[in-house]
């Protein structure tokens, strides 16, 4: 029998019996075959003894049951690890940070408590997926859009709590930012509501984020201070229309103006959708559909002469490559912008973007898609990427599947994604730092690192910054996976030397990644530890999540 750390067998069995009394025997899992799906399907430690796994799982159906479970866990000092839908693939899946924890699986709590059309919000329980909320909205014909992450089976709540992101307008893409109001069960079993939820009789829980006093919501994300049981989320009033426009620029140095345009377009609200960068000349695109296309069809086919020129480019540049682009009318850069709103407004916004670009970029080009009005039709016909119109699906799993462009089976992936400044200088510096490290450091050689070559264009999910995303495939080769872990750790340190920190990462790296946010002798982490000791003195909730360990385990952490 697998046991939680530092718990006697008698106490563990007593706790499991109590859990069964609370939720019913069929919702307490201890058999190996039932627990297997609580391992991390994309674990970089797969097929090793260090792979994270739970001792049991318990699945409550209500807040009362969560409270009772937490009280029992407190009594017997059993570590619990909370998941909502548990599909955090690439970031640990359903597996606990600390092996041997009991997974508190909230998937059965799947009620959509309210969707308010006129005030454009929803209040959901943890197990509600993007598909669930989308279908609910469609079945009732509500004029609302939901911002979805790529995996449609993900949890509206779990994704937000892990700082996940989506695809539509900037106000909605940052899922934690667009939440409004939480209900949280604290480690002592008490339930608190944040914001207006703390005011009995308030009707504005999911409308006014702050309530009164300190805004504490943030401490329940990427942490282990409570079990969130309800969350409000802001939705987007269904726009009359939507459209994509592409701006192209011919020269390497135009990257500066392209990024300035991207920022102005987004921050001023002129083009509120996720601004995706590409380089037709370097044969790369961050437009999500293109990333998936490459797995189905292989990378875009370029002429040999072109491929050779790309291979010789340094930090994405060579004079010969630029000349080749000019001669063959292949833009160095492109910028995909997305617009949502009344047709007239979209038209005017696109015109304004073109005026701005014409003033700044010599030889600029434009292409715009049709102005469309039906997200479902656009998604079915691939005339607009479904997630960009709030339609959930599983398309992005094409990126990783065995398919025409990727005949080699993979076991998953993990992402390295430091936050870098949103500027051309930021992009170029990150490329040159990582390219140099890749050339010179043995830990980075012979490892399949996605995106790095020939040039990495950052992801625009969050406003005001870029994520410089590099990926690692998880394979059947244990040694290769271990080498990828080592490479990842090396990249973390290199990034931190330049002030670039992760926004989110796999549990394997959370201690290191959080440790690098080390200003004033790690005073931020020490503050988290002070909070941990105050709200969870026995350390029963998700020990180790994002580097926050209970006092009695702090010395042991890796």
């Amino acid at each position: 029998m697998k046991m939680p750390v530092n718990v006697s067998q008698t106490d563990f069995i007593a706790a499991l019996d109590s859990f069964a009394l609370i939720v019913g025997k069929e919702w307490v899992f201890t058999k190996d075959e039932d627990l297997f799906p609580y391992r991390d399907a994309y674990s970089p430690l797969r097929a090793t003894f260090e792979d994270r796994s739970p001792s049991a799982a318990v699945a409550p159906a209500s807040v009362d049951e969560v409270q009772s479970i937490v009280r029992v866990a407190n009594k017997y000092e059993i570590p619990l690890y909370t998941i909502s839908t548990g599909k955090n693939l690439g970031y640990g899946g359903a597996a606990p940070n600390q092996s041997g924890s009991v997974v508190l699986d909230l998937k059965r709590m799947n009620k959509i408590i309210e969707v308010n059309e006129s005030n454009a919000y929803a209040i959901v329980e943890p197990g509600v997926s993007y598909f669930d909320l989308y279908n609910y909205i469609q079945e009732r014909g509500l004029k609302l859009w939901l911002d979805v992450a790529d995996p449609g089976w993900g949890s509206v709540m779990g994704n937000a709590l892990d700082h996940g992101v989506g695809h539509t307008a900037s106000r909605f893409r940052n899922h934690f930012d667009s939440h409004c109001g939480l209900e949280v069960v604290l480690p002592n079993g008490e339930a608190v509501r944040t914001g207006m939820g703390a005011m009995p009789g308030s009707k504005t829980w999911a409308q006014f984020k702050m309530g009164m006093g300190p805004v504490l919501d943030g401490i329940f994300s990427q942490s282990n201070f409570g079990v969130v049981t309800k969350m409000g989320i802001w939705l987007m009033p269904q726009p009359e229309a939507f459209m994509q426009g592409v701006v192209t620029a011919p020269l390497y140095d135009d990257l500066h103006e392209i990024v300035e345009l991207l920022k102005y377009a987004e921050n001023s609200g002129l083009a509120p959708g996720a601004p995706e960068l590409g380089s037709p000349l370097l044969g790369i695109s961050n437009y999500v559909k293109h990333l998936v296309d490459a797995f189905y069809e292989g990378p875009p086919q370029l002429r040999k002469e072109h491929v050779d020129l790309i291979a010789k480019a340094s930090v994405g540049y060579s004079a010969d490559l630029q000349r080749y682009g000019l001669n063959n009318k292949i833009p160095y850069w492109n910028l995909h912008l997305k617009f949502y709103g009344p047709k007239k407004v979209i038209q005017a916004q696109w015109e304004a973007i073109q005026d701005l670009a014409l003033n700044k970029i010599k030889g600029v080009g434009f292409k715009s898609g049709p102005i469309q009005t039906d997200p479902k039709k656009a998604a079915d016909e691939w005339t607009f990427y479904p997630q960009d119109a709030g339609v959930p699906n599983m398309d992005f799993f094409g990126m990783g599947t065995r398919a025409g462009g990727n005949p080699h089976p993979m076991r998953g992936h993990m992402w390295f994604s430091p936050v870098i400044p949103q500027s051309a200088e930021g992009i170029l510096e990150a490329n040159s730092v990582f390219e140099k490290a890749h050339r010179n450091m043995s830990a980075l050689q012979d490892i399949p690192i996605w995106n790095l070559r020939p040039f990495a264009l950052p992801a625009p999910f969050f406003e005001r910054t870029f994520l410089f995303i590099l990926g690692f495939p998880i394979t059947d080769d244990v040694a290769m996976n271990k080498a990828s872990i080592k490479a990842y750790r090396t990249l973390l340190d290199i990034a931190a030397e330049h002030g670039w920190g992760e926004y989110r990462c796999h549990p394997e790296f959370q201690d290191q990644a959080v440790g690098l946010y080390s200003h004033n002798n790690n005073s931020l982490l020490r503050l988290s530890e002070t909070i941990k000791d105050a709200v969870d003195p026995k350390g029963i909730l998700s020990p180790g999540r994002y580097g926050i360990w209970p006092k009695h385990l702090r010395g042991d952490k890796k």
């Binding site: 799982a57 839908t85 548990g86 699986d105 998937k107 599983m394 599947t401």
Partner: protein, 116 residues
């Protein structure tokens, strides 16, 4: 429309007609429940459509020797279906009993096995 296209379209129509007839003949509420489980958890990647990650992967694996879309398979045993649901394969994760309960898994197995 080319001759090849119109021929494959005709076969497509005929085969959908056949499967429609066979479904409506033994369609039971259990089968419909099984189909619901399939649509919710499997069809999202294994549907018979373009750009379906599961279907694309099986198309490469079987290279025409077996249908790539699971709903067209007649060779899968109950154990085979249960194994992949609870264990996953490659980038497909395993599914927990809180996602697909044992009772739902039975319905799914019956639904997929009923395909003859």
């Amino acid at each position: 429309m080319s001759a090849v296209n119109s021929k494959s379209l005709l076969i497509f129509f005929l085969s959908t007609l056949v499967s429609f007839v066979s479904i409506s003949a033994n369609s039971s509420s259990e089968e419909q429940e099984g189909k619901k489980v399939f649509d919710k958890w499997c069809g999202i990647c294994h549907g018979k459509r373009e750009r379906m990650p599961g279907t694309a992967s099986l198309a490469i694996k079987y290279d025409g020797n077996l249908p790539a879309a699971l709903e067209e398979r007649t060779d899968m045993s109950a154990e085979f279906i249960r194994y992949y649901v609870r264990n996953g394969v490659m980038i497909m994760p395993a599914f927990r009993a809180t996602e697909i309960s044992n009772a739902e898994l039975d319905l799914l197995v019956d639904y997929l096995k009923a395909k003859k």
